[in-house]
């Protein structure tokens, strides 16, 4: 089933005014797709999800599930009449019911055929690989097990849409990784349109087909993980998805044929010239340069060969953070500081180094 959200706006009103939690957001999650809502805390992810579930009245816009409008500002289909499942961040398992009873409750409420209920429960318990745990109360289950029961409860009655609100955020790092895999497998098996909320970009990248990044209630950018990472449209998206060097710049000359622009980046008393790429001319009026740390090469790696004329600056290594699989360095070029990522700890603190960036990796985006 397709879920379409058009121009969704949600305002929480209180005595002292209102909070615009979601501001004119639109997107579409296609049949069978895993669509992620990604953004920092407080950006409106949960609110969007709750609006789709019918737990919030919306102030503007339309929400459509499978072609049928389920919510407008004036009217709303009740949650119990929308064909959805929802996994809460807190799991919201009913503490007075066993795992089995939790699932059974949902099956009953959704009028699952009486004779098939038991077998269906076994089926979903198998699906989440907890066939033995059916008779335990939520308090007798670990966080990860509760999470899986919550998932089982949400998919047991085969809703056409599954909503998940940071379902893994209460688990520790290792569990999270394991559950992510498991979740993907389980979702594969049920093949259901899923809208998944997370603030963890790594999680979003690993699982999603399509991601919408939200910022302060507004759409920041939508795309596949790769599109978002490689072609961020705003400094916010660039820095929220992975690490990025961001430098406000002014454009000196433009080469429209190659979509190249020569820019100046200044900070304090330092000014450097930088050859950059852009994708859309509109960014040129007020650009910021985005460079991923892994796209900056210290001279050591060029081995003296093919030394560049452009986009090459000399600096000093200010700091080195050893991170195991990679090393992050801060390199000062005058007052401008670059974050650089190297596979091996090749640079020493205090060392003089030349760094270089391929113009194709210095992307101009609109400062907004």
């Amino acid at each position: 089933m397709t879920v379409t959200v058009e121009n969704l706006t949600k305002i929480y009103r209180s005595d002292g005014g209102g909070v615009v939690a979601v501001d004119d957001v639109s997107f579409e999650a296609d049949q069978g797709e895993l669509f992620t809502l990604l953004g920092p805390s407080g950006c409106g992810k949960t609110t969007t999800l709750r609006s789709i579930a019918g737990l919030e009245r919306i102030d503007e816009g339309t929400i459509t599930i499978d072609g049928e409008t389920v919510a407008t500002p004036g009217a709303s289909v009740k949650p119990e009449n929308r064909d959805i499942g929802l996994v809460f961040q807190s799991y919201a398992l009913w503490p007075h019911m066993t795992a089995r009873e939790n699932i059974l409750y949902a099956l009953k409420a959704r009028d699952w055929p009486k004779d098939d209920r038991d077998s269906r429960i076994e089926e979903v318990l198998d699906l989440i690989s907890l066939p033995e745990m059916g008779d335990r109360y939520p308090s007798e289950l670990s966080g990860g097990q509760q999470q899986r029961i919550a998932f089982a409860r949400a998919v047991a009655y085969e809703p056409s849409v599954l909503l998940m609100d940071e379902p893994l955020s209460n688990l520790d790092f290792k569990q999270r990784r394991r559950m992510r895999r498991l979740l993907l497998e389980m979702l594969d098996e049920v093949g259901i349109t899923t809208i998944y909320v997370t603030h963890d970009q790594e999680e979003a990248f690993e699982i999603s087909d399509e991601t919408l990044v939200l910022n302060q209630g507004e759409e920041a950018q939508q795309g596949t993980p790769q599109q978002l990472y490689e072609h961020p449209q705003t400094p916010f998206v660039a820095s929220f998805l992975g690490e990025a060097n961001l430098f406000p710049a002014s454009v000196d000359a433009v080469d429209r044929a190659d979509r190249r622009a020569r820019c100046t980046v200044s900070e304090g008393s330092t000014r450097i010239e930088m050859e950059c790429t852009y994708r859309d001319e509109s960014v040129l009026s007020n650009p910021t340069v985005v460079i991923r740390p892994e796209d900056i090469y210290p001279e050591a790696r060029t081995d003296g060969a093919a030394v560049r004329e452009t986009n090459r600056w000399s600096g000093t290594v200010d700091h080195r953070f050893y991170r195991g699989s990679f090393t992050q360095n801060l390199v000062d070029v005058g007052d401008i500081q670059f974050k650089i990522k190297t596979d091996k700890p090749v640079l020493d603190e205090g060392e003089d180094v030349a760094i270089a960036v391929d113009p194709g990796d210095a992307l101009l985006v609109s400062s907004g």
Binding site: A53, G54, L55, I65, E68, T69, V70, T72, G74, A75, S76, V77, K78, P79, E80, N81, R82, D83, I84, G85, L86, F88, S90, A92, L93, W94, P95, H96, Y105, A106, A109, R110, D111, S139, R153, A154, Y157
Partner: protein, 574 residues
């Protein structure tokens, strides 16, 4: 799955309003309606109509009554009793709850169960008990001290006596209010203090008590409001002895104690009384409103207990003392008195069952007992029902938070005896219902009113722990509101609702002030029978004590049935 046509048409409004999810709101409004009607009846009745050839309230009368030193004295006594008793209850409730819940004190479970016991002792019974223990002339302890040391240890017929009796009697209520707060203290806060080098006692005073302050203040205000409104203690320990009068006892005296009932004076006293109570209630409301706002996430956060080591004996001693003052002392006094052949013979160790025989020879006793149980049971059910819906209204509808709070709190502003008077007028003035006068119906109404505020709080403190998401998860699973309410909400608040039913059932059987002005020959209840007997002849104290014992045992048996029936498990509800 189709869009409900709303478009703000009249029809869809009607459909929306017929949605079961609004039932709690409607019940709340119904209650509010009855309540307002009662209030209107009281003021209209005593100001405008008067009774017989007596006038309503005139300016002259108002001046005479309101500007008298007499009134100032009465008001002072009333307020002093409230403040003193509230302070004692708040403190002992916190100490007891913390010891029982957060330490490894021995007999914790027993103390937890026992703390409810004093609730099974009606105030009038406890009053009789305290008289038996600490009356300057005949009290067991005082007689002992007089004979041994030549002085009276403590005169219960005093302001301090009344304050002490109410303050220690407030232990169960104080415990029930403080307990959830004690449980919700994050153990790491206390542990942090101990790791920082503070001893157990230092931690208790520096960390625990401040954390419990909101709950203690809540207790203080509730006991204060209760004490302001209480009729039994000041009547037995003050007014009946002459000397200490409160507004409650004075209202009774001008209506029942004077040859011609002065309803207009009672009306004036009621107004003053309600104003004082409303000040208290406003303070309470304003200060505790915020605590409703945040939800504590439910779930099995781990409880750790403090190791008391050798201090555990002191802890047991403290709990025993507090519980003893709340229960054992008056109980023992009552028991002794009921078995004594004549007043003053307490130390001769002669015992007799004659008092009981005399009690059972009272012809109306059987119907009085039936009335007591029936009124209490129905009042208990209605209180639980109203409390559940009002608590739901105040917590679960964003738009009506204030309303639910207000409805559940505002009845506290009316002392029980004022309810009695108000319902008396309501029944008299409403066309068609005057036939209800003399039946149990007005009693039940008065009982529900008086029990509802605390009852609602009990359900609220339970319901507040049920996160909204549990309800939302149910509707997303496809359940209607009513299914959700029955299958998710009610099972999860069963503890609080059962507590409320019991609290009200027990409380109603004990209640005197609310019903004392509503009783005629046909609807007498045990508390009032005891009062009448004691009032007619103070020498009948041993028979009154026997009757008190009976009332106590009736109430106790209900408590025990619930405790052991398992399903009730009301002590485990928290």
């Amino acid at each position: 799955m189709s869009l409900e046509r709303d478009e703000r048409t009249v029809r869809s409004r009607a459909v929306e309003l017929a949605n079961p999810r609004w039932i709690p709101l409607y019940v709340t409004l119904l209650f509010l309606g009855i309540f307002l009607a009662t209030v209107v009846a009281l003021f209209a009745g005593s100001t405008i109509f008067g009774v017989g050839n007596q006038e309503g309230i005139t300016l002259e009368l108002a001046r005479e009554v309101l500007l008298s030193w007499e009134l100032a004295r009465i008001v002072f006594d009333t307020v002093a009793i409230g403040v003193g008793a509230g302070a004692i209850s708040a403190f002992i409730g916190a100490v007891y709850a913390w010891l029982v819940i957060r330490t490894d004190m021995p007999f914790k479970r027993a103390f937890r169960v026992m703390v409810i016991l004093p609730l099974s002792m009606p105030f009038i019974v406890k009053g009789i008990g305290w008289i038996s223990v600490l009356s300057p002339q005949i009290g067991i302890v005082n007689v002992f001290f007089k004979n041994t040391f030549g002085f009276v240890l403590f005169d219960i017929y005093s302001l301090w006596g009344i304050i002490m009796a109410i303050g220690f009697g407030g232990l169960p209520l104080a415990f029930l209010i403080t307990e959830p707060a004690v449980r919700s203290i994050d153990p790491s806060l206390e542990e942090g203090s101990r790791i920082a080098g503070r001893g157990l006692l230092g931690t208790f005073f520096r960390v625990t008590l401040p954390l419990l302050f909101p709950a203690m203040f809540s207790t203080f205000m509730l006991v204060l409001i209760f004490a302001l409104g209480n009729f039994d203690y000041p009547f037995l320990l003050g007014s009946a002895q002459g000397g200490i009068d409160t507004l409650a006892t004075e209202i009774f005296q001008v209506v029942r104690g004077s040859p011609v009932p002065k309803y207009n004076v009672a009306g004036l006293y009621s107004i003053v009384y309600v104003l004082i109570a409303f000040v208290a209630i406003t303070v309470y409301w304003v200060t505790t409103r915020k605590t409703h706002k945040y939800q504590t996430v439910s779930g099995g956060s781990r409880q750790t207990v403090h190791q008391l080591g050798k201090w555990k004996y002191l802890a047991v001693a403290i709990c025993l003392f507090l519980w003893g003052m709340s229960f054992i002392a008056p109980f023992a006094g009552m028991l002794f008195m009921s078995l004594t052949p004549r007043i003053g013979a307490l130390f001769s160790l002669e015992f007799t069952l004659a008092n009981y025989a005399q009690l059972f020879s009272i012809p109306t006793l059987r119907s009085v007992v039936v009335n007591t149980v029936a009124a209490g049971f129905v009042a208990g059910l209605l209180t639980a029902l109203f409390a559940t819906f009002i608590a739901y209204t105040s917590l679960k509808y964003d738009r009506f938070t204030g309303l639910g709070d207000y409805v559940s709190t505002i009845p506290l502003g009316f002392p029980p005896i004022v309810y009695g008077l108000a319902i008396f007028w309501l029944v008299l003035m409403l066309p068609g219902v005057s036939t209800l006068y003399g039946t149990l119906a007005p009693l039940v109404l008065a009982l529900v009113f008086t029990r509802l505020p605390h009852g609602t709080r009990m359900v609220t403190s339970n319901l507040i722990q049920i996160s909204d998401e549990l309800e939302e998860a149910s509707s997303i699973s496809g359940a209607s509101w009513s299914t959700t309410f029955r299958k998710v909400i009610v099972p999860l608040i069963r503890g609080g609702v059962t507590n409320t039913f019991l609290y009200s059932f027990i409380g109603s059987m004990r209640e005197l002030g609310a019903v004392v002005l509503l009783i005629t020959a046909g609807n007498n209840v045990l508390t009032n029978l005891l009062l009448q007997m004691y009032n007619q002849d103070a020498g009948a104290l041993p028979v009154v004590a026997a009757g008190s014992m009976m009332l106590f045992l009736m109430v106790l048996s209900i408590v025990l049935v619930y405790e052991f029936a398992g399903a009730g498990k009301y002590t485990a509800g928290a």
